[in-house]
């Protein structure tokens, strides 16, 4: 275990802890252990290319994305001249990012019941144990703060002088408190009325959203914001603003630098009163929270799952028993494997956004949104997402269950692939293309309808071929290792297939009835291609080693 900066800082408050009768030495050891464990745990996002021996540098590496966001935010607010507007943007973004990160990376601390089993069975003061939990979360939040808000503080100092530092730091502390409390209250509410499974699902959805925001959000943000117009925005007060926390935080700056109206003092008071009051309320509730947390340990009983639509679709499109069952199996896996969802949905979202971004790009260059006639080609980015998804379905967090494919002597993989790919089409690919189709129809009216239908057909047509390139036994490899395999060759091959289709589509327009002919060809490819799905040997190399 190496020394943590945060603990060294904490050491200087040693006397205060002792004053309150806290056993500081024990507290420090508990915290040190918890922080070391954090290092060894991969965060929900930014797990790419992480190797086990990189522990030492991983604190900084883990926060690289936060820092990028922080710098971006700092740039953004630097351009604004109105204190109220500036802090509104800052606190809005800060609230959002910190809450998302807290929920996605740190929920396990808030919701941990295991550390109680370990710590409270030892002769430790329960106050020390609960304090260690709060401090653990605070250390995490302060680290986040440093990277997300640090650059903005620098920007503020540059435009207003060092006087902003104490105000800014105090406000950050108050926002942290609000975020922590809001998160705790939400959990409390969910646990009060539902069970732990739903809470885990909510956390999973937030993790997925965050990953999407981080991977594709910047690209949109950078393109859509017009920096020059931000300088002139002026804040206009309205009484409803009392209820909107993100508007409060500009007030102290406005008072200090420009002198103030009375409502600014109300805002300033709110900044102090609301966190303080809710913190008092939280302390009163924390016993209840502990009790509700026990729900997480209990068995989650799902209501007898209906999934009627899936069942019906499965019944209609699958003629044989095995592919129908494989279809249901794949659906159930995609529905319930949270780690897998965390990889698949962000990848899909890139597929949705790329064609749209391309159109926005043109707009940015000052062109009219007049269609040039070739925009349908951007939609082929949808098909480029296929290989990633195909690659991922070989992985699962429950991969150890895969021994059964070998031990059962099952030898009808062809139909399993058929069911699996139908499930992938229904869950991922067809909705992806339809969604993009809808967006295109909104922008370009019905100009590309034929092309969108053709693209849908092309997507279904290439599925068995991409499957032949990528699929091994589905859900049979550890999801944690899904970043490590070098599959560039396979990707190039898939890219080639998509490329050929795009070129054919392009040339089909220069022939009379070309699109019709192309559609007919695709239909023929679908009918034959889906008949010859690769029958692979049922081998599971990973089990040879165990």
């Amino acid at each position: 275990m190496n020394e943590f900066l945060s603990l060294k800082i904490l050491d200087s408050f040693k006397k205060i802890f002792k004053l309150f009768g806290i056993n500081y030495e024990v507290l420090r050891i508990i915290l040190k252990t918890k922080l070391t464990l954090d290092l060894r745990r991969a965060p929900a996002i930014n797990t790419n290319n992480r190797r086990k021996d990189e522990e030492q540098t991983s604190i900084l590496k883990g926060y690289l994305l936060h820092l990028i966001f922080g710098v971006f935010l700092a740039f953004f607010i630097y351009f604004m001249k109105d204190e109220m507007i500036r802090m509104m943007y800052f606190s809005g973004a800060f609230f959002f990012m910190t809450t998302m990160y807290l929920i996605s990376d740190f929920s396990f601390v808030l919701l941990d019941t295991k550390d109680k089993n370990i710590l409270l069975t030892k002769p430790l003061d329960s106050r020390t144990v609960s304090l260690s939990k709060v401090l653990h979360i605070l250390i995490y939040m302060f680290r986040l703060n440093a990277f997300i808000a640090g650059p903005s503080l620098a920007a503020m100092v540059m435009s207003n002088g060092p006087l902003v530092i104490p105000i800014f730091l105090f406000e950050i502390l108050m926002i942290d408190l609000i975020i922590f409390l809001v998160t705790a209250f939400i959990y409390l509410l969910v646990l009060r009325f539902f069970d732990g499974e739903l809470l885990r699902n909510i956390i999973n959805v937030i993790q997925i959203l965050l990953t999407i925001v981080v991977t594709v959000g910047y690209q949109i943000a950078v393109r859509m914001i017009d920096f020059t117009s931000l300088q002139d925005v002026k804040y206009i007060f309205n009484t409803t603003h009392y209820f909107n926390p993100i508007l409060w935080f500009g007030a102290p700056f406005e008072i200090v630098f420009h002198g103030g109206e009375s409502y600014l003092y109300v805002f300033t008071a709110l900044i102090i009163i609301v966190p303080a009051a809710s913190f008092a309320y939280y302390l009163a509730l924390s016993k209840k929270m502990e009790r509700l947390l026990l729900k997480l340990e209990g068995e989650g009983r799902e209501r007898p799952a209906k999934h009627r639509i899936e069942k019906l679709v499965g019944f209609i499109i699958n003629r044989n028993e095995v592919s129908k069952q494989a279809f249901h199996f794949s659906n159930a896996m995609f529905r319930s494997d949270r780690s897998l969802k965390l990889k698949i949905y962000p990848a899909l979202s890139t597929g949705i956004l790329l064609p749209v971004l391309m159109i926005f790009n043109m707009r940015m260059r000052g062109q009219q949104l007049e269609a040039t006639g070739y925009e349908y080609l951007y939609l082929y980015f949808n098909l480029i997402m296929f290989p990633t998804i195909y690659y991922l379905v070989n992985y699962s967090s429950a991969w150890k269950g895969s021994y059964i494919f070998a031990s059962s002597g099952f030898n009808n993989m062809e139909n399993v692939y058929r069911g699996l790919m139908r499930s992938m089409a229904c869950r991922f690919f067809i909705p992806l293309i339809i969604l993009n189709g809808v967006i295109y129809t909104i922008i370009f009216r019905f100009r590309f309808t034929m092309d969108i239908i053709t693209l849908l057909m092309a997507g279904i047509a290439i599925m068995p071929f991409i499957g032949k390139i990528y699929l091994s036994v589905p859900f049979s490899m550890p999801i944690d290792e899904s970043n490590q395999k070098d599959t560039f060759g396979k990707f190039l091959l898939s890219l080639g297939i998509v490329g050929v289709l795009a070129v054919l589509h392009f040339f089909s327009h220069s022939v009379t009835m070309g699109t019709g002919i192309y559609l007919a060809v695709l239909l023929a490819v679908i009918l034959t291609g889906w008949k010859f799905i690769p029958e692979k040997i049922n081998s599971l190399p990973i089990w040879q080693k165990r």
Partner: protein
């Protein structure tokens, strides 16, 4: 009685470590074999090899008289309950039963109905719509037993099947074993709980450091031993006699 399983000169290494060294034995139908040995002696490896989870080994394995390397048809008549109840545990028990049914060619309705009935025997049928990862250790193991036997196999490979299972269910399980034997099923039972092995098995196979060192009927093995317990035979064969000295050492460390 006919021979259903035979291993001939089977050896297996993981890297430079030789786990199985020239294993030879055969099993007849209707036998209950107690397969015992220390941790790391090669028990689970033997079973995985017979099931084709590992196919990179020397020697030959015959099941129902056929060499099994590269084959799969024979597995339809084999049931397997793995040591750690690994499953696609993010599925509900209901979904998992349907999936297992698919692999063994059983219709979903039948697989679920049959599975639910078998789960009911162990008192866990009301958890059928629950996700498996929310199950307790014992519930998982019970479900693992159910799914390993769903397809009416002729040979059962049970690798420590009773871990975490309550005493009443253990009683039921032992009766089930007896019934299955009467139905002519063969059971290959690997465990560290020697009392259970002693009560259930007709025949003992003891593996030590990758070699079969004892192979005989329960009566034969017992008669060669003065104090008549499988435990003392196990200690003898594995050359373990200093348990008292070791316990003393632990106690001393404990007291310091």
């Amino acid at each position: 009685m006919s021979e259903v399983l035979r291993l001939e000169h089977v050896s297996k290494s993981f890297g430079s470590k030789e786990v199985l060294k020239d294993i030879n034995f055969s099993v007849n139908s209707g036998e209950i074999i107690g397969y015992i040995g220390s941790n790391g002696a090669g028990k689970s490896t033997t079973i995985k090899l017979i099931l084709g989870l590992i196919d990179d080994y020397h020697g030959d394995v015959f099941v129902f008289g056929e060499k099994v390397r590269g084959q799969f048809e024979y597995k339809k008549r084999i049931g397997y309950v793995p040591e750690v109840s690994d499953m696609y545990d993010n599925l509900t028990a209901y979904e998992y039963l349907g999936f297992i049914g698919m692999l063994y060619g059983i219709k979903e309705e039948k697989a679920v109905a049959k599975g639910k009935e078998m789960m009911g025997v162990f008192g866990i049928d009301d958890a059928i719509y629950g996700r498996i990862h929310t199950f307790s250790k014992g519930m998982r193991q019970k479900l693992s037993i159910v799914t390993g036997m769903l397809h009416n196999p002729d040979i059962l490979f049970l690798d420590e099947p009773l871990g975490g299972i309550d005493a009443n269910s253990v009683l039921v399980f032992k009766e089930i074993m007896k019934n299955l034997k009467e139905e002519g099923k063969t059971i290959f039972y690997s465990s560290h709980i020697l009392e259970v092995v002693e009560k259930l098995s007709d025949r003992i196979l003891l593996i030590n450091e990758g070699k079969i060192v004892i192979d005989g009927t329960m009566a034969d093995v017992m008669s060669k031993q003065s104090d008549n317990s499988l435990e003392s035979i196990f200690n003898d064969v594995t050359g373990f006699h200093d348990h008292e000295a070791l316990a003393r050492k632990f106690t001393d460390a404990f007291m310091n």
